[in-house]
Assembly symmetry: C2
Homo-oligomer: 387 residues x 2
């Protein structure tokens, strides 16, 4: 089988963008590229950054949706397990042998609760978030039926305004209910401030996180006062994790995007006023795209539109090029401003996606590249697992 | 195998949201629902609307990406073939036996050109758009090598500002090159004004389309003056197709969204000043979503976020409910404003997606529902086919 054969044989019945050994110039576009040096750099860097703190890392697998990426993360120091967001997503990782998964979400539907217990029955240490008492009863009944244990975190809403209860009184009520429920284990708190992660200004993020940490401390004190202790306080994302890690109250951080970076996180500033993608983390994820039309003066059209990326957090950035810019995205096209008419048909560009998580959810494969050569092909195994 | 078994057996190795016979209340969420009455209504309505005009319908399969939907469309009067946007997408439909496909796009990469010729070699009448002379030579060389014919349309940029040439002189140059190229057939023009489709005001769309039709007529006259005749003039979308259909110059229209509708197209006005989704087309596509948290006063959280929909054209609309509204979308959550606290955990809502095409690209299955019961399950076979 020749390399081209994989693309052109209508009887082959599968469709991959590349094979190991191929030059990056032969990779089909649009496709997702992982630059392995930058990716490995980011994983090592995170291990170094959290090393001084008394926290572990539980990377969020909803970002990459890949068993292979998760395994690389779990090979790092102080990484104890992963986060998932959905039951069907957690199933993919549990079946691959990953043995410690926190679903950072409420699981309320009866079929989903059955699937959740099924994951625990595979031997996985499974944790889930709760913010509702009836849900605790449903989880307990199913765990008892399957004779498994399900670990529970009470979700504290610390300003994200989404799920979770905000008052210590409600937290105590739910924690007590978990304690009393058969086959459930009260582990502690989920306290993730999601809405502040992308704030550009580090001082503004700091102000918000100081309040969050104060709220979490007060909640822990209230729980302690009634004899409830928390083994786990989990939260933090790529935009905030240093605050949680150094807080003295969080036991684990849940960063996801640090591993790949994206244009939106790349723009935010760290404690030294530097952009994240110029200081802490390297861009490791790219959409490889080809120019398919240069019919108009001053612009070119590439083959990466909404089918290849999510633009919810802004347009992609052309990596390493200040002379051209991605200025418009439609379903299957991207318009590139090219004032000097430099681009030619079939030229390839590396785009940094605006938002990595939903962009990864559009593709079936990561093309792993090192020194311009494809070294591996990783399936995005949990792509589309939204249940 | 019980219905629940499909969701919960970790050894089953596949994951579907529903099975035929299931009540809609048992369908896993978030998932894509086709309301079969509304869908069939839309297909029949389109056949009626275009009946008086001397045009055929070539529905755009990039919208739905489904062999089953395409077959239903092709069963209607005056529907001669389908459009696709990408080679890998066209392969899916050609392998399913669909025998007339227009790729409304430039195909320039050598591997893609080989795949294109491979589709023609399957016996499919294959057409493709061109706006570049070197591309014509590459297409011709490959078609000759495979001993197939490839039909070509010159893409005329009629204001969308994306691909295509704008001047009659360039059109003549490209048409002549196609005529002279071995194994290529010059069919005519691709003239799609994509950027005006979503303009709310019908009169504004009319003004733009009048200019487009004038430009196309002038181009056809210029071609005729040098002895080049066009069998095909193709274009038009759900927002504009009545103008193209009644123009006397277009031979086929390329509508896609009419079959499913979405919130963005639903808002635009028809010639009577009525919303499209209240007059011409019924909402046939929904994201079924479940409430997973009601911990906060005045709001609920549902399980359909960016993994279940694209928000590039705005947030989804809760179907049939004026009392609640989808107000915020994050990766895996949607926040529903519910001032009267009506929603309860596990309540299900039908969301009309903001934009159908990229939303369909996120899912693996259409759950076909009639009278509240699942009647079929259609794979979204060309999902993710971006090459």
């Amino acid at each position: 089988m020749t390399v081209n054969k994989i693309h052109t044989d209508p009887e082959l019945g599968f469709d991959v963008p590349a094979l190991p050994g191929m030059a990056i110039s032969d990779v089909q576009t649009p496709s997702l590229i992982i630059d392995m040096e930058s990716f490995n750099n980011n994983l090592k860097r995170m291990a170094e950054v959290i090393a001084p703190y008394n926290v572990s890392l539980r990377p969020h697998a909803k970002m990459h949706k890949s068993i292979d990426v998760a395994r690389q993360q779990l090979a790092q120091d102080k990484t104890t397990g992963i986060c998932c967001q959905k039951v069907s997503e957690a199933e993919v990782f549990a079946r691959a042998g990953i043995s410690d998964i926190l679903i950072t979400n409420q699981v309320c539907d009866q079929v989903k609760i059955e699937r959740l217990a099924g994951i625990a029955a595979l031997g996985c240490r499974l944790s889930v978030c709760v913010d509702n008492k009836a849900n605790i009863n449903a989880l307990s009944a199913e765990a008892k039926k399957r004779n498994v244990r399900i670990h529970c975190l009470v979700e504290l809403d610390c300003g994200a305004g989404r799920c979770g209860v905000a008052g210590a009184e409600q937290v105590i009520e739910l924690a007590t209910a978990i304690k009393e429920a058969e086959h459930l284990i009260f582990d502690g708190l989920q306290a993730y401030q999601g809405s502040i992660q992308h704030e550009l200004d580090n001082d503004k993020r700091k102000t918000v996180l100081n309040a969050v940490i104060k709220q979490v401390k007060a909640c822990l004190d209230s729980l302690a006062a009634v004899g409830l202790s928390c083994d786990v306080v989990s939260g933090g994302g790529t935009g905030s994790f240093l605050f949680e890690a150094s807080s003295g109250v969080y036991t684990e951080v849940q960063c996801g995007s640090y591993a790949f970076m994206d244009a939106d996180y790349g723009r935010i500033h760290n404690q030294d006023g530097k952009r994240l993608d110029k200081a802490d983390w390297k861009n490791a994820l790219f959409i490889l795209t080809s120019i398919m039309s240069t019919a108009k003066d001053g612009q070119a059209v590439c083959d990466a539109g909404l089918k290849a990326q999510s633009v919810d957090s802004g347009l992609p950035v052309v990596f390493g090029r200040d002379d051209i810019a991605y200025i418009n995205c439609s379903d299957e096209h991207g318009v590139i401003e090219d004032k000097q008419n430099k681009l030619k048909i079939n030229d390839k560009l590396h785009l940094v996606p605006g938002h990595c998580d939903p962009t990864c959810n559009l593709h079936d494969w990561y093309v792993c590249v090192s020194d311009g050569v494809v070294v591996d092909l990783w399936p995005i195994s949990a792509r589309g697992k939204a249940w």
